[in-house]
């Protein structure tokens, strides 16, 4: 080969350097955030309004040993033992957990929802098995963490964490035992140094309450989550932020509060939400008798509708009369001019979709295998809350309000979907092909639109500077469902309005819970 061709061949083969110089490891958005740094420790949060706990001291927490006692001084040695020689994996563990317990558990919850958000695979005879909480390890694993289930899971964990932290803050104020790094100056604080008393430990409260809630929500994960709870507690000790008695008292308190929420969860009608074949058939009969075209499953084999009785789940923020009052009027009638035009509009969006429209749909889809639309709003909220320097209890309060309003959005939305049981656009026009999978439930109103209307309303109240941005996101998310070919304009417009109304109740609660 002539020398002049070397200019081509040698560089070409030098591309071999690319794999060695281009690092491909990726990291998550919150991999390198600093320790939680609360602008305000919310020391009076023991007085905030709870959801289920009747009083902050409903569960007794014994008075701790004094910081000059032999017992306490002995406990300090556990911290010092760790801090003599922290390995790099221990330092990583500390760094992960001190960024915020509510934040990290929220990320873990999103991961659990994504892990369990897969529809069951059919049996050979074309029927579908249903997850069974009494046999959760048998396929299909319990739960199927679809959007309504996910909204309830996020809500129960967030509300339980919030109530538990109110009790925690009450006792912190009552006993006023300072953090180990305040007591002993040789102890290094890997957390932000504050005046917040450390007994009981808020990290341990979160560990206890969240791990315990898995018994209701993700029974297959109890083992994994209990291990994470231990990791959080160990990290808190290694960080110099708590002694063992802070941890033990906190964890016990958290578990007791969780048991209240578990008892409520076992009786909130979620267990009946799947309905029966008689229910499913009745929706069709009812809709036909009203002269409307009923929904049918566009899956093959056809799958029963998703959680048709979820509308009966007991809300925390609104009563059942309010739920009924929030249900909007009916969608455009099947065969009406408006319905014909709306169907045509859907077809026009998908017949030759632009790349921008495809991107909009994929960005907001949050379908099977993901953390669901409620999870997406948890991610949006968490990213913004990190910038706000909230205390752990304010994090918990804000996440609780967000997730409770998202659960309410699911309740009202599902009540509406199954009141009217109307057909998807692809049923009325089979030429409508979609840019994302069609979820297995009726069209009106759009779940995305209801969720995002509620979330944007509540978050816009918590961070007013972002209110316009949140509402614009909500509109984009709602639009993505029309553009994707799976909803009519009425579904998204009425859905968004309904969601905004639902969110208003969370705002009302936020104004009176003592945190503002």
């Amino acid at each position: 080969m002539k020398k002049k061709y070397a200019f081509l061949v040698i560089p070409a083969f030098l591309l071999i350097l690319v794999p060695f110089s281009c690092k491909k490891t990726i990291s998550g958005a919150t991999a390198n955030i600093p320790a939680l740094d609360a602008g305000n420790e919310d020391l009076n949060a023991g007085n905030w309004k709870t959801f289920l706990l009747s009083r902050p001291d409903s569960f007794a927490v014994a008075a701790p040993s004094a910081t000059n006692s032999t017992a306490y001084l002995a406990e300090l040695n556990e911290i010092k033992g760790y801090q003599q020689n922290l390995s790099s994996s221990q330092q990583q563990q500390i760094k992960y957990w001190v960024a915020g317990g509510v934040l990290r558990w929220n990320e873990i919850m999103r991961g659990l929802v994504a892990k369990y958000n897969l529809p069951p695979y059919q049996e050979a005879n074309g029927t579908y098995p249903i997850p069974n909480s009494n046999n959760p390890f048998a396929y299909p694993l319990f739960p199927f963490a679809n959007p309504p289930y996910a909204s309830r899971a996020y809500a129960y964990v967030s509300a339980a964490q919030y109530d538990a932290l109110i009790a925690c803050w009450y006792y912190k104020s009552l006993y006023n035992r300072p953090a180990p790094y305040k007591v002993d100056s040789t102890i290094k604080a890997a957390v932000t140094v504050t005046a917040l008393p450390s007994y009981p430990s808020e990290a341990a409260v979160l560990a206890g309450v969240t791990a315990e809630m898995m018994k209701l929500l993700f029974p297959d994960e109890i083992a994994n989550i209990e291990q994470l709870a231990i990791d959080q507690e160990q990290a808190t000790i290694m960080a110099g932020a708590a002694v063992r008695s802070d941890i033990v008292a906190g964890e016990a308190l958290g578990r007791q509060v969780a048991d209240l929420f578990i008892a409520r969860g076992r009786a909130d009608n979620a267990g009946k939400a799947v309905g029966t074949p008689a229910n499913w058939a009745n929706f069709v009969t009812q809709t036909l008798s009203e002269g409307q075209i009923p929904w049918y499953s566009l899956e093959s084999p056809q799958r029963p509708p998703m959680l048709p009785l979820f509308g009966s789940v007991k809300s925390f923020l609104i009563d059942s009369e309010t739920v009924a009052a929030l249900i909007p009027g009916p969608p455009p009638a099947s065969g009406s001019q408006q319905m014909i035009e709306e169907t045509e509009e859907v077809y026009n969006y998908v017949k030759n979709p632009s790349r921008d429209n495809i991107k909009l749909v994929e960005y907001w889809a949050d379908g099977a295998g993901t953390y669901t639309p409620p999870g997406h709003w948890n991610a949006i909220a968490a990213a913004d809350f990190i910038q706000q320097n909230y205390s752990e209890i304010r994090w918990a309060r804000n996440m609780a309000l967000l997730n409770l309003t998202l659960m309410d959005a699911a309740i009202v939305c599902w009540s509406t979907k199954y009141k009217y049981f109307n057909a998807r656009p692809s049923q009325l026009n089979p030429s409508i092909k979609t840019l994302t999978g069609i979820p297995n439930f009726p069209s009106y109103i759009s779940g995305h639109s209801t969720f995002t209307g509620a979330a944007a309303t509540l978050l816009g109240h918590i961070i007013p500077a972002r209110a316009a941005a949140y509402m614009q996101m909500a509109q984009q998310a709602a639009l993505s469902r029309l553009v994707g070919g799976i909803h009519y304009r009425s579904d998204i417009d009425v859905g968004l309005q309904t969601g905004i109304s639902v969110g208003g109740y969370a705002v009302q609660r936020a104004e009176i819970d003592g945190a503002e």
Binding site: M1, K2, Y5, L8, V9, A12, F13, L15, I16, V18, P19, C22, K24, T25, I26, S27, G28, A29, T30, E107, R110, G111, A114, K115, L118, P119, P120, Y121, Y139, L298, E299, S300, P301, V350, P353, R355, I358, K359, E362, Y363, A365, D366, A368, G369, T370, Y371, G375, H376, A379, S426, I432, K433, T434, L435, T436, G437, I438, G485
Partner: protein
């Protein structure tokens, strides 16, 4: 003349198919070389489809997809810098369709590929002749097509670099050929901001595992006709299995073993022209479709500068 760089086109194109719509032609995975200043251009059409696919190692169908068909038209060009150093390029236009369910087909230009094919060594043995080849290839998406909508997406979106070593032995009209390839794949970006593999990843960046492929073939090489049977294997060095009843994802561990038959025919009445036809079938795989594909193509070769009349022996030279 051109084999659609099996890896780039095949893998990126067929996602759930892995190996490749092999359109036989010269190029990145055969022993044919253009002579110096010989330039060959052509178009191929490929039709690939699957009903069955592997969710991890579980073979199944999906009635919400039915038959997934991927078609493409590809323009290819191949130039002889010297008779031992060729430059190849190609770009396909791809479109997908599901015969059942409601998922929208996708379409668009896919990835541009460039190959440099070098034959540094040819050795005359007591019987027959052995040639060794070194090939380096590069491919990259020509646009930001959607990659998060598998199996409808037209490609996986990564920028790839591949290095191949190939040995070719010919004796009389028979030949045998073997090659091994390492493919480095860049990370890709999704539209969504989070995704689940075996854990939740709170980023839109996806780490793409690299790949290895092996190819072996036997065939006959005559004055106007080249025909061969081949076996291909693709192994993805990392990635995760499609979860039960989930949709495929760009960084799945995609493996496949396939067999194929390729024929190339040069017209005796005009040796500038050649046609090719090929078919491949995935025998076994992981996180891929059990693809059956057919392709046909037509090519025209000529010399850039005035040259002696092209003879088939010249055209079919292997060195």
């Amino acid at each position: 003349m051109f084999r659609i760089h099996n890896l780039f086109f095949g893998i990126t194109l067929i996602l759930l198919s892995a190996i490749a719509p092999e359109v036989q032609a010269q190029t990145d995975n055969d022993a044919i070389m253009m002579n110096k200043q010989q330039w060959c251009n052509g178009i191929t059409y490929d039709h690939a489809q699957w009903n069955d696919y592997w969710e991890g190692t579980f073979k199944r169908t999906n009635q919400n997809i039915g038959t997934l068909t991927t078609q493409s038209v590809m323009a290819m060009s191949n130039y002889g810098i010297t008779s031992n150093l060729n430059l190849l390029a190609g770009v396909p236009y791809v479109w997908t369709d599901a015969s059942a369910g409601t998922l929208h087909g996708m379409k668009g230009f896919q990835d541009l590929s460039l190959f440099l094919k070098w034959k540094p060594i040819t050795v005359d043995l007591r019987k027959g002749q052995l040639s060794l080849f070194a090939i380096v290839g590069f491919s990259t998406p020509t646009n930001n097509y959607e990659i998060g909508f598998l199996p409808m997406s037209i490609g996986l979106g990564s920028t790839n670099i591949m290095w191949r070593g190939m040995a070719y032995y010919r004796r009389g009209i028979f030949f045998v050929r073997a090659s091994g390839t390492y493919i480095w794949r860049s990370n890709v970006s999704l539209d969504q901001t989070s995704y689940y593999t075996t854990q939740l990843n709170t980023t839109n960046q996806v780490e793409m595992p690299n790949q290895l492929t092996f190819n072996g073939s036997v065939g006959i090489y005559k004055k106007y006709l080249i025909a061969e049977l081949m076996v291909d294997n693709l192994t993805t060095l990392g990635g995760f299995d499609i979860r039960k009843n989930d949709m495929p994802f760009v960084s799945n561990r995609m493996n496949a073993t396939s067999i194929g038959a390729h024929v190339k025919y040069t017209f005796p009445f005009d040796t500038h022209l050649s046609v090719l036809a090929a078919s491949n079938y995935v025998l076994t795989g992981r996180n891929v479709g059990q693809t059956l594909d057919f392709s046909i193509g037509m090519f025209y070769a000529f010399y850039l500068k005035k040259h002696a009349p092209i003879s088939t022996t010249t055209l079919n030279k292997t060195n």
